[in-house]
Symmetry: C2
Subunit: 358 residues, 2 copies
């Protein structure tokens, strides 16, 4: 039986992506070879990476002057590549959680870092909004979705310095005005593909402004110049990402995806707010449409509820240890039927509990 996969990442992918990948591993395009054993310089793979780049540009409506890269090393490697390439004087960050913190730590190796605001004291349950971005910052860095805490920045900020965004866990969940950003990056393993490839969308004008020497593999220009094939790229994760991009386009693109994500998250948040046993973990105005965090008013019931969800075919619902409770990650590929199943599970558990305690 296929499980309802609420895992935070690596996470659910479209059935289409999974079945196309399984077939291509066995044999690609009837060429007598597996996807895993062809040269990345072959016409068959060049077509894959070209189409993947083109679909990212089409789906996100990426303007002229930007490049789409498929790199390795995850968002964690971007945490150091970004200051290596962009930080000469001072950079501004907001601290919205564990991942923002890791980005801040790396930037400090390369220049002055001003942390404009933090929601740490309330376990990052909201997005700080009361701060001013210094006009002399080389860039302003945000984490648009905070997987652990279930908070999300719902708009494309307008700022007077280059805007850099970690969109690892909400890329492709809604239309984005890419022109507002100098650099967008995202580990693939939520809405795009399996772990092992990192999407970077970068404005070419953002580069060339630092004086330090940059190691070849950490220099964005290396990968721009070679179309993400300076060295052997992660062929399989890129192929898998292409399948998801095709699925996104076939399912109406990002407007349609956003409507579906809104419907799914509204359904679940409504249950959290109306069910007497549960309460949401994040501030209402900053609630993520990707990661829905919630706890039980009576902590003693949490272990029971988690076992119950497992017994009815749900997977990956345990909350991160820093927040506790539960986290339902309902990425693009999650069908609304799985969210309905979870909501029904919450209702049934509440009913059972009510009858037991009545």
């Amino acid at each position: 039986m296929k499980k309802h996969n609420f895992s935070a990442g690596p996470s659910i992918l479209p059935e289409y992506t999974i079945s196309e990948c399984s077939k291509a591993v066995a044999e690609l395009n009837d060429i007598g070879l597996s996807l895993l054993e062809i040269s990345h310089r072959s016409a068959d793979f060049q077509a894959v990476i070209d189409e993947a780049q083109a679909l990212v540009k089409e789906l996100l409506n990426v303007p002229e002057g930007y490049e789409v890269l498929f790199l390795q090393g995850g968002a964690s490697t971007q945490f150091c590549m970004i200051p290596y390439n962009l930080l000469e004087g001072k950079a501004a960050y907001i601290d919205t959680g564990a991942w923002a913190n890791k980005a801040i730590k790396e930037a400090k190796l390369f220049g002055e870092v001003e942390v404009l605001a933090s929601s740490k004291e309330t376990t990052y349950n909201y997005i700080p909004k009361d701060y001013t971005v210094p006009a002399d910052a080389d860039y302003f860095h945000i984490t648009t979705n905070n997987t652990i805490y279930g908070t999300e920045i719902h708009e494309d900020y307008t700022v007077d310095v280059p805007l850099v965004a970690d969109m690892s866990s909400d890329i492709f969940s809604r239309p984005v005005d890419v022109s507002k950003y100098d650099l967008i990056y995202a580990g693939a393993q939520k809405n795009l593909g399996p772990a092992g490839v990192t999407l970077v969308i970068i404005k070419k004008d953002a580069l060339g402004k630092v004086s330090r020497e940059i190691p070849t593999m950490l220099n964005y220009n290396t990968h721009i110049d070679k179309g993400s094939m300076f060295n052997t790229p992660p062929v399989f994760p890129i192929f898998a990402s292409l399948q998801t991009l095709k699925w996104l386009k076939a399912n109406g693109g990002l407007e349609a995806m956003y409507a579906k994500n809104k419907a799914k998250s509204d359904l679940l948040y409504n249950e959290i707010d109306s069910n007497p046993l549960f309460e949401g973990a994040a501030a209402k105005e900053d609630r993520s449409i990707m990661n829905v965090t919630f706890v039980m008013k009576n902590k003693d019931l949490e272990a029971d509820f988690l076992s119950y969800t497992t017994s009815v075919g749900c997977s990956g619902l345990k909350g991160h240890r820093s927040v506790g409770g539960f986290r339902a990650s309902i990425y693009n590929a999650m069908p609304i039927e799985s969210v309905e199943h979870l909501v029904n599970t919450m209702k049934t558990f509440a009913d059972k509990h009510a009858s037991v305690t009545a």
Copy 2:
């Protein structure tokens, strides 16, 4: 029809690896989830990475005091990670080709680099042997197999400074005395798995000797401390690598693999040396058992021979542009039957040519 895949990399993998991967992408271990959508923190994936590390240690007889890591970014990222972590004063390199050159270029960003010898003037057709490794070098770097030129270092050098080796294209092709090395690294996409994971075997005592601050993701200690899971690892390429490691063990380990590789390469080199149309590109004593490079005495026949090999089901035989001619990459997974097929193709072509020109 399955092709005879002589591609230099990404390259042929065992049928076992390919079929296990195709199945696990569809569903892993009957858990109701694809390998692509499970958390890297799940027990199912922890078992994969643990077994992969254990099998690397077992197959290569890795001594105590060494760590086995699965990283991202390819050998190209190691070219900068190595000096970042190990180079304080001076490092020694030998220049045996394009990849050695790239390693040298990155090291120069971090300290003094002494290039002890080079075979560049003869298009890298031999391994330089006439040099002395300076006693004050922080390390001595070698590339054990040079894919483009078909040269290989056939022994584990004994030197008085830490030895660092890029074994990307010959790892697991023969037993190695790991104790002779402080660091061995290898992009997976030849003898191990698909592109997207890099194997590093490192002596823990080699670390902690440089004074610079190292970005988190470039610091070997980060990955040692977290068992290669500081951030989300490349789950699929690691799973695929594990299948190849199991296949290696089931097929007798590295002694058996070396015997098979010797038989395959002897067969092909014997044909090159005895067939009137062909000649080897590399010095005989340095000939690679992984990448067999050869040219035709009459260059005008090369296009014809290449088409002929394609017509009889061979793939990936065109030589690198810097050497020309042909390159038969006959990695571990290549059955001797494919080498026999190539040898027969060379014989048939020579016979046809002899009858035409007679």
